[in-house]
Symmetry: C2
Subunit: 466 residues, 2 copies
């Protein structure tokens, strides 16, 4: 339901949603195949440090924990009430949560407004708003934070620690990002599924993320905005990059977004272009771009200007990159125009058939020492705003050696505050190199275009900050 | 150098390039860090069954093989001469190769036209053309085929067996595809780096691929076309899908393409749009799209029409997909419009809060049995032209179980000749599922948009065939 601006009591209580001392799981189950079992299991598995109160009228113990028949039977204070019971039972639970003075309510249960039960959903919102109990959901997958070892929901894995707050209406896409986090080292500060966002809205999580010390970039997946004014004003308050993917813009997507999260899209997709622009956020088109751009904005400072130097051992990666830079409206400049001195110096790190154009092609025979020298020269040159490196494994390329050299150079030049992005295109050893680089805060990608998308986002964000 | 059409003597001899009985490696080295060592090493490592003749004037044995001081010292017949010596030595080697009546010449050596030595390169081409010795290169990384255990060049890995012929001017990008092949099961019939394509041109490899029984799809990476007429006419002769990525279209890319493979691009990028269209090929924009689309066209029949049904356990994946379908000009139809019967039947495989719209959302609780039923109903419905399935791992999703069910259903409905594509978005278990599906000839992708790109390519190819 619409809000005009983020409400303070909600923003203030979201700390109990992402870092609670105690949590009641209503609908906890004894049966391992049930979602109500998984929630308790995952909380324990990932090392939640607070107290867990399973609630189930027909059980006395769940996973070794004392089980309570109702919320009211818990005599200690409860920060977070997590609800996974059928929709018709939720109203009673909400009343109980208010009675025991819970700090925040998370309702995972589906089958509300998205299947036509708008009144039921609105009644619960009104009850919660009157009691000033922030209500997250319904119809969501969960939430958590790797910094608090907190994994609360139907979620098989915690992400690795990192700078990105992932705020998603879709549970499945949130889960995909969490899976990616583990497999490809995509670091998150916290994550939340908003589902139908009946009460707590994007705006409130955006303001919370703005205050969260671990969050350096907000990544937001939207199916519909009930409160665009609040969204815009909260985004503007936050001095951190915000990346948005908005879906449901297609003809059938409008219907699918309603069926999924009861999201209403009375205005066309261009309307959202404007909202996102007014909010000062960056809009991504595809899921991959959404993740790639968020990663770079989370790890790196913005580009000061467009003088980017690319250093590659493969001309093909260079060509894919320079074409894509131009396609995105930020063409590369020739190295001799950026820095004649660098164009000369860089020759020392390549064979005679290399090319100092930009992309700088140090050739397929490039050694770790040549890479290191070229990276160092480029990053230290005062005329260079950022560096894009590419590793294309040939039979003589030491992929992990180059990755390590990149990390060394980056760490020794960190005070220069220049973006450094890597491409590692190829098989298993590239995947390892990408993870290693990301672990050391260098965004790295398996294809040229992904890296270019990321670099251009750093430029756009830098421009928007001016 | 320009050709007006593919030359028969070249096309006929390319079998010796990709399946030689004997190969001389000129520039073979005793020192493991040298590329001339790697070539012999990789040939042996990947199980080349023919005879290898290392050639090096200063060695008598390399990797346990008798070494010849010159090509002329080899008294047996040599199918393929592979050259990896400095550029100024190549002319002599070419004369020797002609003298010993080699069937095909592959010159890996760089530093020809791309650094200004056009005359040297042209002289060699003229010599080879006079002698009717097909000359592949110079300035290339190598070539090979997993079907013949043949890995010839500076190439750390053979791809897995499959339907795609990869013809690439760029060595580094070819290597990236080969790495991807191993890591993500991207199956290839053969691969070749063309480098400067001084003599043997795209057209000739295209015609060879047209005849090759293992090749079902051609994937071609182009930096410049010297012989567009030959390219068009050879593409038209081949009744197999052809996917092209053309780079070097940006302002700096024109220069970079010359510096890389001496490719000349006097005409703008729109010129190539026309050439590729005239050739009846599909143009990909990004490297990822190039691989994704090739995979689908290699494994699957074309779409007969645009009645695609999407079945997903995640509404978010459904929304990303239906938006992208519309973005690409092939919007999804509602299921009730495609098949009212199917819209009814599919209800049996989802909970009450699922959605039979299209995307069909069978919800996050979907079991293997529900997936299987939904896939089967959709594939068997006569009004459905193709099916897109999505697995979004929730805490209760049996990812590998669903993948196996998809394989079972696909194999039992193969006679219907309908495309079936899968999305598996998430972490490590999705990566495993993707590999498993690809091993069973189902194109599978980690993001929705990649799968939609692939499905739309099948539609475009189907339309172009009509």
């Amino acid at each position: 339901m619409k809000i005009l601006e983020a409400r303070d009591y909600v923003v203030n209580n979201l700390k109990y949603a992402l870092n609670p001392k105690s949590i009641a799981v209503v609908g906890a189950s004894r049966y391992p195949t049930k979602v109500g079992y998984k929630v308790v299991y995952e909380l324990m598995k990932w090392g939640f440090k607070g107290t867990i109160y399973p609630v189930n009228p027909r059980a006395d113990q769940i996973l070794g924990l004392k089980c309570y028949h109702t919320l009211r039977d818990i005599k200690e204070s409860v920060d977070l009430v997590f609800v996974a019971v059928p929709a018709h039972l939720v109203t009673q639970i909400v009343n109980d949560a208010i009675e025991i003075k819970a700090k925040v309510l998370v309702v995972a249960t589906s089958a509300f407004k998205e299947i036509g039960r708008e009144k039921l959903q609105n009644d619960i919102v009104n009850t919660c708003r009157k009691a000033k109990l922030p209500f997250i959901g319904p119809n969501l997958v969960g939430l958590g934070s790797p910094y608090h070892h907190f994994n609360c929901g139907f979620i098989p894995y915690l992400p690795v620690e990192g700078p990105i707050a992932m705020i998603s209406q879709s549970g499945a896409n949130l889960l995909a990002a969490l899976g990616t986090s583990q497999a490809d080292h995509f670091g998150m500060s916290f994550f939340v599924g908003l589902g139908n966002k009946a009460d707590v809205d994007f705006a409130e999580f955006i303001e919370y993320a703005g205050q969260d010390p671990h969050t350096k970039c907000l990544a937001i997946y939207i199916e519909g905005l009930d409160s665009p004014e609040a969204f815009i004003s909260s985004c503007k308050k936050v001095d951190k990059p915000i990346v948005v993917i908005k879906v449901g813009g297609s003809k059938i997507g409008v219907k699918a977004a309603f069926a999924h999260t009861a999201s209403e899209n009375p205005n066309g997709d261009e309307y959202y272009d404007k909202v996102i622009k007014d909010a000062g956020a960056i809009r991504a088109q595809t899921w991959q771009e959404f993740l790639d751009v968020s990663l770079a904005l989370g790890y790196l400072p913005p580009l000061k200007d467009d003088k980017v130097v690319m250093i590659t051992n493969g001309g093909g990666a260079g060509l894919l990159s320079c074409d894509h830079f131009e396609r995105l409206g930020m063409p590369l400049h020739e190295l001799k125009d950026i820095s004649p001195m660098l164009a000369q110096r860089i020759r020392a790190y390549m064979p005679m058939f290399g090319s100092p154009l930009n992309p700088v092609d140090i050739s397929g025979t490039a050694t770790v020492i040549q890479y290191k020298g070229a990276f160092q020269q480029a990053l230290r040159d005062p005329n260079v705003d950022g560096v894009l490196g590419a590793i294309c494994p040939t039979a003589v390329t030491d992929v992990l050696g180059v990755a390590k050299a990149a990390i060394e150079v980056y760490e020794s030049t960190k005070d220069l505050n220049k973006p450094f992005i890597m491409i590692c295109q190829g098989g298993e050893e590239c995947h390892e190199a990408i993870k290693l680089l990301r672990e050391h805060n260098i965004p790295a990608y398996p294809t040229a275009e992904q890296a270019v998308n990321a670099m251009v986002a750093l430029y756009k964000y830098g421009k928007s900050k001016k």
